[in-house]
C-alpha cells in the first residue's frame, strides 16, 4: 500500500492500518494442491465421491476472539475445506470486534451475546447467524490455590468419581468477592501453608480488557449481579428499598453497581489478552493464580493431556462461579461468503460433532440439555465430568445498555467506532 506510507517525520501512527482486500483467492497450498487433485480426479470419478476438485476454495475473513480455537482446529479446517472453505482468522477481542470497523470481513464470531447484539443491531440488513454451541465462563486456577480457597470456606470441591483428586470446585462468588474487597493477599488467607512458596499478591482474578473482551464483560455481569443482591442491575423496580435508605429517586442503580465493581477489576492493573494462552503455559501459575477462561478451553486441554500423557492435568483445576454465567458465541455473516459458513455451521453434523470434541456444549435435536454428548465424550476420554452446581442460580445479564454503561464506567473505554469514518 505505497499510498499509505507516510513520511518518517510525521506523527507516529498508532492505529493499525486497515486490511486491504488483497488476499489471494487461491491460497498457495490450494494452488499447489490442484495438480494433486487433477491426479486424483479419475479415482474420484470412479468412486463417485461428491468432492468437486475444481471448485474454488473461498477464503473467508473473520474477526474472532477465543472462538478462533474452533476454526484453528486442523480437523475443523479439514471439514471446511471439503466444502471449499478456508477461514482466515483475525484475532481480536469480542467487544473490540463490535466497536471497530468490520470492513473487509465476511463473518465475525464474537464469544458471547452482548457483543453479538452490538454487532447485529449495527447492521443495515437482517443477517444470517448461527449459534452452534454454548460454554460457561469459568475461573482457571491451580491446585494449591483451590485448596487455599476451600480452606477459606469460599470454594467446595466437586466429588471425583473414583474418590481421587477433583478437577472441579464450586466457588461462592459472594464470599470470594468479600476476600477481594477486604484486600486479602494469598498469604493472608494462608496460601503459604498449602505450598512451599508463598504469594504476597492480592487475591484477584486476571481478566482481559473489559473494553475489548466478552469474557471480562460477562465476568462484570456476574460481579454486578452479585453486588446487586442477585439481581440484574437496572431491573430493580419491584425491589424493596430498606426503610430510610439514602438512595433517592435520583440514584442511578446501574452506575451505583458499576462503582462497586470497578475496584474489583481495576485492582489487577493492566489487563492481559489471551488469558487461556498464559494459563495453559508452563509459566501459568506464576503469571496468574486465577485466570478468567471458558470451560471449553479447559476441557479441551484435559482431553489433550489425557491423550498425550495418559493422565489428567491434576495441577490445573477449575472454579465454577456460583452464580454462573453461560456464554453463547454467535457466528454472524456479513455477506454472501459468510452466509455459506453460517449455513454450514447450522447444518453440518460433523462440524457440530467436532465442537463437542473441542469441549463445547452443543444442543442436538431430541436432547433436553446441551451436556449429554459432551459428558459422554469426556467419559470416553477418561476426563472427569463436571457436575452442575447444586445452586443453579444463573446470572441474569443486565440489558445491553446497562451492561454497556457498566463496562464503559469500569474500563473508561474509549468511544466506539471512530475508525469507521476514515
Amino acid at each position: 500500500m505505497p499510498e499509505d506510507r507516510r513520511p518518517p517525520t510525521e506523527e507516529p501512527r498508532l492505529t493499525t492500518r486497515r486490511p486491504a482486500r488483497r488476499r489471494h483467492r487461491y491460497p498457495r497450498h490450494v494452488v499447489a494442491a490442484m495438480p494433486l487433485a487433477l491426479a486424483g480426479l479419475l479415482a474420484l470419478m470412479v468412486s463417485g465421491n461428491t468432492l468437486r476438485p475444481f471448485e474454488r476454495v473461498t477464503t473467508i475473513d473473520g474477526k474472532m476472539a477465543s472462538k478462533s480455537d474452533y476454526f484453528k482446529d486442523p480437523e475443523v479446517q479439514r471439514l471446511l475445506l471439503k466444502h471449499g472453505i478456508r477461514v482466515d482468522i483475525h484475532r481480536l477481542g469480542s467487544r473490540g470486534i463490535a466497536t471497530q470497523s468490520l470492513r473487509g470481513m465476511d463473518v465475525v464470531f464474537p464469544s458471547g451475546q452482548p457483543a453479538a447484539k452490538l454487532i447485529t443491531r449495527q447492521q443495515q440488513r437482517s443477517v444470517r447467524t448461527a449459534r452452534p454451541f454454548v460454554t460457561p465462563l469459568v475461573l482457571g486456577t491451580f491446585r494449591d490455590y483451590a485448596k487455599t480457597l476451600v480452606a477459606a470456606g469460599v470454594a467446595r470441591p466437586q466429588q471425583a468419581p473414583d474418590g481421587g483428586e477433583t478437577l472441579y470446585y464450586d466457588l461462592d462468588m459472594k464470599k470470594f468477592l468479600k476476600l477481594i474487597e477486604d484486600q486479602k493477599t494469598w498469604n493472608g488467607i494462608d496460601f503459604d501453608e498449602h505450598t512451599r512458596r508463598g504469594n504476597a499478591g492480592r487475591v484477584l482474578v486476571r481478566t482481559s480488557s473489559v473494553c475489548e473482551s466478552n469474557s471480562a464483560g460477562t465476568y462484570l455481569s456476574i460481579l454486578a449481579f452479585v453486588k446487586n443482591g442477585n439481581q440484574a442491575p437496572g431491573t430493580e423496580r419491584g425491589r424493596h428499598q430498606p426503610a430510610g435508605s439514602g438512595s433517592g429517586p435520583a440514584a442511578d442503580p446501574v452506575l451505583d453497581v458499576a462503582q462497586q465493581v470497578k475496584p474489583l477489576i481495576n485492582l489487577q492493573g493492566m489487563a492481559a489478552d489471551e488469558q487461556a494462552d498464559s494459563y495453559f503455559s508452563d509459566e501459568g501459575e506464576s503469571i496468574a493464580p486465577v485466570s478468567l477462561i471458558y470451560e471449553h478451553q479447559f476441557l479441551k486441554h484435559q482431553v489433550d493431556h489425557q491423550k498425550k500423557r495418559g493422565k489428567q492435568d491434576s495441577r490445573r483445576v477449575l472454579l465454577y462461579p456460583s452464580p454462573h454465567a453461560l456464554t453463547e458465541p454467535e457466528l454472524i455473516s456479513l455477506g454472501e461468503r459468510g452466509d455459506r459458513l453460517t449455513e454450514l455451521m447450522e447444518s453440518d453434523a460433523a462440524l457440530r460433532r467436532r465442537a463437542i470434541e473441542l469441549g463445547f456444549r452443543v444442543r442436538f435435536s431430541g436432547e433436553d440439555g446441551t451436556s449429554e454428548q459432551l459428558n459422554a465424550y469426556l467419559r470416553e476420554h477418561e476426563v472427569q465430568v463436571p457436575t452442575p452446581n447444586p445452586d443453579q442460580t444463573k446470572v441474569d445479564a443486565p440489558d445491553l445498555n446497562a451492561l454497556e454503561r457498566i463496562i464503559n464506567h469500569v474500563g473508561s473505554c474509549p468511544p466506539a467506532g471512530q475508525d469507521d469514518g476514515e
Binding site: P12, T16, R28, A32, L38, G96, A200, D282, P414
Partner: protein, 518 residues
C-alpha cells in the same frame, strides 16, 4: 514443471512447489534484544516465503514513526498500550501474539550472591534485599534506561511494585513519594537498551556486581563465556515482571503473512530452536526444557494501567548509572529534644534512626533506609536550637556518628517549634544556594505545642522572604505526643508537605511513611 512434478510424485513434493511462490518481505521494528532470532528467520523464509527484515531500535513504547513498518516485535507491548490509552486513541490495538517469555531477574556475581544470601533468613533474595544492599553501598548494579528500553522500564516497574508492597498494581498514591532512592544509589551502569548495557558490562566487569535484565539475556551472556565468572541468576521472592515478546501486526493489509509468521514461530519445533538459541521460555506446553529454564520464576507482579503512574516513576528515577555517582537527596530532620521527650519517646526516636540506618528487617524498611550519597542534617531543638550536625553518607561510620548524635543528645526546656523550622529553612536556603535544584525536604518532629521563640506568624513572615527555591521546600511534620495537630497541618499545607501521625503507630513507621516524599 511444478504441476508435472506434483502429479508424478504426489504430496511429498508439494512443499518444494510452494517455495519460490509468493515471496513477501515484511519490515519489522524489533527490540535490539531480538537480534538473536535473526539466524532462524531463514527457515521461516524457506517454509513460508515470508522474509522478515528486522530493524533494531531501543524504544520502550514504540514511539517514533511506525508508518513504514508492517510488524513490531518488542519485548512487551505494555508501554505501547499505555501510550495509546494516554492519547485517548481508539482501542484499535494491533493484533498481537506472544512468541516467547522471559522474566526480568537479577544476575549476581557468585561472591556477592553468597554474601547477600547469608544475610537473609532462608536465603531467598528479594528486590528489597537488593535495594538494601544497594543503599548500604555493598551492591552496584546495572540496568537499562527505563525511559528508552522496555526491559529497563519493566525492571523499574517491578522494583517499584515490590517497594510499594500492596500486592496489587501501582497506583498514583504509591509513587507520589519516591521509594527507590536507596535502590537507585547503587546503580553504576546503564544503557539505551539491555544489549548496550550488557556490552558495557562485558567491557568493564569491575563496574558492577549485578545486572538486572531478562533471564534470557543473562543465560545467553553466561553461555557466551565472555565473563570472568558467570552470573548467578536470582528470581526475586517478591515477584517479577514477565515479558512475552509479542509480534504485533501494524499493517492490517499484511494479515495473511502475519498469520503465517505467527503460526510458524509457535510451531513446537521452532519454539524449541528459539529456546535453545535465545534462552527464552517457549509459550507452548509441549517443548521439553533444559534444567536452567525449569527454575520457578516466582509470581508475576501486576502492571499499572495508569500512564501517569509509570511516567511519575520514570521522572523520579531519572537516569543514574552514567558513571557519575547518583546524587542523593538532602533531608533536614528537626527533632524535638524538650524534656517531655525523655524516656520512652526518646527510645522510640533512637529506634527510628537505627531502623533508617539499616536495622529494619522489613521490606518497606529496606527500601526506605538511608543510603550512600544521601545528605542528612539533624537539628536538635527545645526552647531554642540546641545543636546541629550534617553528614553525607559515605559508609556505616557516618550513620553511626549520626545515630550517636541523636542518641546522646541532651534535653532542654520549652518547645520552639517555629524557631526550629525557621532554622530548617535557613539550612535549606544555604544548601540550595550551593546546589541549585537539588531535591531537599524538611522533617519536623515535635511532641508539644510551641511555647518559645518565634510565633507561627513571625515564622510565616520570615518564610515569605526566602527565595523561590527555598520557599518551595516541603515540610513533613511528624505529629507525636501532645503536638499541635492543627498548626502542623497548616505548615504542611502551606509548604506542600504532609502530616504523619506517629501516635497511632511509631516514629519509625511515621518516618518511613514520608521517606522519599518531596
Amino acid at each position: 514443471m511444478c504441476l508435472l512434478l506434483a502429479t508424478a510424485l504426489a504430496a511429498t513434493t508439494l512443499g518444494a512447489c510452494t517455495k519460490d511462490k509468493d515471496h513477501r518481505t515484511l519490515r519489522v521494528l524489533a527490540s535490539p534484544e531480538l537480534a538473536d532470532v535473526e539466524p532462524l528467520l531463514k527457515g521461516l523464509e524457506d517454509d513460508t516465503g515470508v522474509e522478515l527484515k528486522l530493524d533494531y531500535k531501543a524504544t520502550a513504547d514504540l514511539s517514533g514513526p511506525l508508518g513504514s513498518y508492517d510488524l513490531a516485535w518488542p519485548a512487551s507491548d505494555r508501554s505501547y498500550l499505555l501510550r495509546l490509552q494516554e492519547r485517548g486513541e481508539r482501542a484499535a490495538r494491533p493484533e498481537s501474539t506472544a512468541i516467547m517469555r522471559s522474566p526480568v531477574v537479577v544476575g549476581l556475581t557468585p561472591a556477592v550472591a553468597d554474601r547477600l544470601r547469608r544475610g537473609v533468613p532462608g536465603g531467598r533474595l528479594s528486590w528489597a534485599d537488593i535495594a538494601d544492599a544497594a543503599a548500604d553501598g555493598t551492591l552496584r548494579f546495572g540496568m537499562a534506561d527505563p525511559r528508552r528500553s522496555d526491559t529497563g522500564r519493566a525492571a523499574l516497574v517491578g522494583v517499584a511494585t515490590a517497594a510499594a508492597g500492596t500486592g496489587g498494581a501501582l497506583r498514583t498514591q504509591d509513587v507520589s513519594c519516591d521509594r527507590l532512592r536507596g535502590f537507585r544509589s547503587g546503580q553504576t551502569l546503564t544503557g539505551a537498551s539491555s544489549r548496550e548495557l550488557i556490552d558495557g558490562y562485558v567491557r568493564r566487569q569491575s563496574a558492577a556486581d549485578a545486572l538486572i535484565a531478562h533471564e534470557s539475556e543473562l543465560l545467553t551472556l553466561n553461555a557466551a563465556g565472555k565473563l570472568k565468572q558467570p552470573l548467578e541468576i536470582v528470581h526475586p521472592e517478591d515477584g517479577m515482571v514477565l515479558s512475552d515478546f509479542p509480534l504485533m501486526l501494524l499493517d492490517g493489509g499484511e494479515h495473511e503473512a502475519y498469520r503465517e509468521v505467527v503460526d510458524w514461530l509457535r510451531r513446537d519445533d521452532v519454539q524449541k530452536k528459539l529456546m535453545e538459541r535465545t534462552w527464552r521460555r517457549p509459550v507452548g506446553q509441549d517443548v521439553p526444557r533444559p534444567a536452567k529454564l525449569r527454575a520457578e520464576i516466582g509470581n508475576a507482579l501486576s502492571y499499572p494501567d495508569q500512564p501517569a503512574v509509570v511516567q511519575r516513576l520514570m521522572e523520579n528515577y531519572g537516569a543514574p548509572g552514567n558513571g557519575r555517582a547518583a546524587a542523593g537527596d538532602h533531608v533536614v530532620f528537626l527533632l524535638d529534644f524538650s524534656t517531655s521527650m525523655r524516656g520512652r519517646r526518646m527510645a522510640d526516636l533512637r529506634a527510628a534512626f537505627a531502623d533508617l540506618s539499616g536495622a529494619d528487617p522489613t521490606a518497606a524498611g529496606k527500601f526506605a533506609r538511608f543510603y550512600r550519597g544521601e545528605r542528612l542534617t539533624v537539628v536538635r531543638f527545645a526552647g531554642r536550637v540546641l545543636q546541629e550536625r550534617t553528614v553525607t553518607v559515605r559508609g556505616d561510620g557516618d550513620l553511626r556518628a549520626l545515630n550517636s548524635f541523636v542518641g546522646k543528645g541532651k534535653f532542654g526546656d520549652d518547645t520552639a517549634v517555629w524557631s526550629a523550622l525557621g532554622r530548617g529553612y535557613d539550612i535549606a536556603a544555604d544548601a540550595l544556594a550551593d546546589r541549585p535544584g537539588h531535591p531537599l525536604s524538611i522533617v519536623l518532629m515535635t511532641d508539644g505545642e510551641n511555647n518559645a521563640g518565634l510565633s507561627y506568624g513571625q515564622f510565616g513572615r520570615r518564610h515569605a522572604e526566602l527565595g523561590t527555591a527555598a520557599r518551595a521546600v516541603p515540610t513533613f511534620p511528624v505529629h507525636f505526643g501532645e503536638a499541635d495537630a492543627k498548626a502542623l497541618r497548616r505548615v504542611a499545607d502551606a509548604t506542600g508537605g504532609r502530616v504523619v501521625d506517629a501516635n497511632s503507630s511509631s516514629l519509625s513507621q511515621a518516618f518511613k511513611e514520608i521517606r522519599g516524599c518531596r
